[in-house]
């Protein structure tokens, strides 16, 4: 199977280039296996990966134009030559490895933890099954970054727009019955940038390997905000 892979080593290359590789395809082979095979051919080829089963979120790459997790992308579903590039819009450190620090900084901005103001009870804070259901589709995010790095609004304003991943997380804590910082969370999202750069392009929904829906979560935040304002 033919591959065209993005290569860039800032220490030796003046600019990035695409390199052709050929990998023998076995049945059930995933893209991550092919990248490992490429690495066996050229050990200087660099990419991130860890669990190999779509849980850790390390091996997000841009494949034939869309962001995917290499470990759960079957080679059989890909058109040849398979073009593998780093996430778009992120500074490239080397080959497929990009600098995600802005992405993590945006995540940190939404205070991604429970804020409970009442004195902590002796036991755990109980939730009804219905309250727990509110978190479904929000808590499963593995922070691979496929969504935020496919979002044009995040490309244009990655320093000011939180991006779909951080907004999904913001919604996760707004929806949590045990959280008591709704007002502060909403206030933090105000202004034209943090939340409202989202133009419902829905690339995030398209690219999420966990089939989550950040666009819906963003709409939910806007609805909460509107209800809170009138």
């Amino acid at each position: 199977m033919k591959f065209s892979v993005y290569r860039y080593n800032p220490e030796s290359d003046s600019e990035p280039y695409m390199q052709a590789f050929e990998v023998e395809q076995r049945q059930g082979m995933m893209l991550r296996d092919a990248l490992l095979a490429i690495q066996a051919q050229d050990e200087s080829f660099t990419f991130r990966h860890s669990c190999g089963e779509g849980v850790c979120g390390s091996d997000g790459v841009n494949v034939n134009g869309s962001n995917k997790l290499a470990c759960i992308t079957a080679l059989a579903d890909l058109k040849e030559p398979v073009e593998v590039r780093p996430f778009p819009g992120r500074p490239v450190i080397r080959d497929l490895v990009v600098d995600m620090s802005q992405f993590y900084a945006q995540f940190k901005q939404v205070d991604p933890w429970l804020i409970h103001k009442d004195p902590m009870p002796e036991q755990e804070i109980l939730q009804s099954p219905e309250e727990r259901d509110q978190l479904d589709g929000l808590y499963e995010c593995i922070m691979c970054g496929c969504c935020s790095t496919s979002c044009p609004s995040f490309w244009w304003n990655p320093d000011k727009f939180l991006g779909p991943q951080a907004l999904l997380t913001a919604c996760r804590f707004l929806a949590d019955s045990r959280d008591q910082a709704k007002e502060e969370r909403l206030d933090k999202l105000e202004g034209p940038y943090k939340l409202f750069r989202c133009h419902t392009i829905m690339n995030c929904v398209e690219s999420c390997p966990k089939d989550l829906n950040p666009t819906k979560a963003i709409g939910h935040i806007k609805a909460i905000m509107l209800k809170d304002a009138i």
Partner: protein, 113 residues
Amino acid sequence: MSRRATGLRAWFLQRATAIYLLLFIVFLLQQMILNPPQDFAAWQGWVAQPLVGLGLILFFASLLVHAWVGFRDVLIDYVHPTAIRVTLLTLAGFILIGCGFWVLKIIITAATA
């Protein structure tokens, strides 16, 4: 405009005006297809009806607000140097306000002639 107004309010105004624009365009198309004014006097008579005149003024007001929010969004997304953004925003603001007064004058003149 307070800081709070720039996010939620702009977004809400864009949605609200969009709904009115859509409804009024349907009404306008239906009028122009089913019952088109035959001459200038007939058109004047149509605009002179208080509800139509008011509806038209509201339509253009919505259109200008909608255009303002949309244009501002485009500038925030794509135009990052402050000086160019401020210049373009100010220019757009003047043009939109100018269009507003112009259209108001047309409707009032037509309705009172």
